[in-house]
């Protein structure tokens, strides 16, 4: 018996070990995947204390330091190994990049902002609304009771997200702005209704999540006219699907830029929400916009109206078709609008 016990102890058993560890790993992956995408799985929300603790981390400082680091030029010999590691880690498709030669990009920030070859993103002519970015659809649907779902079952307030609005004399709403200020809409229940121009319409939303390896420029999803830019400085928490399921009102807490205006069916808005790594947002037709800067007052927002300010909005070099009128900035479907940057 002692002889047998010794044999049992001294001989490793690869099959049970593989079964146990492999099963555990698969179970973990299944749970993680289900909790990310399964609509039936109930979300487990962070408590207000946990959110406060997360928000107390200096994510903005870390983000800016990360941006500075990635703005440092790399020696030519180091560029290929560093970018190759990034490509391998995040699954970047360099065959789509306008410049495939890795030595061309001076630093990781420049590599992150890489442009695509002209023909690789055809714009769907049949659809009135197209994707503004490469990424993953986190959620979509109708907006009910002025509450929007960031993921299934986790909502945020439309009013907190867009900021206060003003009713206009002509019945149309561009949120607030110097040209459209008659009366503040204070009732949360009517916030959604006041945004819309017709009772025969409904309010819809789509959330697109951009992973680190994705192309990080965003384009106009339709033909529309931007009347107002509203910049909300804020936290820079991660916006990955797991955190979006965990932190309620995440999109209202993070730094964001809301472009709002009108399209053929009424109110239209595009909001770029920043994150820890990707903290700054650039809008090509708005040279005044500066995000993720040290001066930051909690709960504040800054408006810039494009209405009757046509002369002040400059057309950037190489951006054709962008028209600045005294009634807003005209954007065409598929046209580049802006980009996210590291830090």
């Amino acid at each position: 018996g002692r002889h047998t016990d010794r044999r049992v102890l001294s001989w490793p058993r690869p099959l049970p070990i593989l079964v146990v560890t492999g099963g555990g790993y698969l179970g973990y992956q299944y749970y993680k995947r289900r909790s990310h995408w399964d609509e039936r799985a109930p979300p487990s929300l962070a408590s207000s204390r946990q959110v406060a603790l997360y928000r107390s981390f200096p994510t903005r400082l870390v983000s800016r330091a990360w941006g500075r680091l990635n703005g440092l030029d790399l020696p030519t010999w180091l560029r290929k190994p560093i970018y190759s590691l990034y490509i391998w880690t995040f699954g970047v498709n360099m065959q789509e990049a306008a410049v495939e030669d890795l030595h061309h990009y001076k630093n990781l920030g420049e590599f992150f902002r890489r442009r695509l070859k002209p023909a690789v993103r055809p714009v769907c002519a049949a659809s009135c609304l197209t994707s503004p970015a490469d990424g993953r659809i986190l959620h979509f649907g109708r907006v009910k009771n002025s509450e929007v779902e960031q993921v299934k079952g986790v909502t945020y307030s439309l009013e907190n997200f867009l900021g206060p609005q003003m009713s206009c004399s002509d019945g149309k709403t561009l949120l607030s702005g110097p040209q459209v200020s008659d009366q503040t809409v204070s009732s949360t229940s009517s916030f959604r209704d006041h945004l819309m121009s017709s009772p025969a319409s409904d309010l819809f939303h789509v959330v697109v999540y951009l992973a680190p390896g994705d192309y990080h420029c965003f384009h106009s999803p339709t033909d529309w006219k931007v009347g107002l830019r509203r910049h909300f400085p804020g936290s820079l928490m991660s916006v990955n699907p797991g955190v979006a399921r965990w932190v309620k009102e995440l999109f209202c807490l993070n730094e964001r830029v809301v472009l709002s205006g009108q399209w053929q069916h009424g109110f239209f808005s595009l909001t770029a929400v920043g994150a820890t790594n990707v903290g700054s947002i650039r809008v090509y037709f708005d040279q005044e916009l500066q995000t993720n800067t040290p001066r930051y007052r909690k709960g504040s927002f800054y408006d810039h109206s494009y209405v009757s300010l046509g002369d002040q909005v400059k057309r950037p070099e190489g951006e054709e078709g962008m028209e600045s009128l005294d009634r807003g900035v005209v954007l065409q479907k598929g046209q580049p609008v802006g980009e996210f940057n590291l830090g």
Binding site: L138, L195, V208, Y209, F251, G266, A272
Partner: protein
């Protein structure tokens, strides 16, 4: 980073999407 679109559309607007779906710039999101 994330892009959120909020828009008014006729009630018969329909999305042609699945949650978790990969999407690229210019691909259709929905139609009337």
């Amino acid at each position: 980073s994330t892009i959120v679109l909020l828009f008014e559309a006729p009630k018969n607007f329909t999305f042609c999407l699945q949650p978790g779906q990969r999407i690229r710039v210019g691909e259709g999101l929905g139609s009337l």
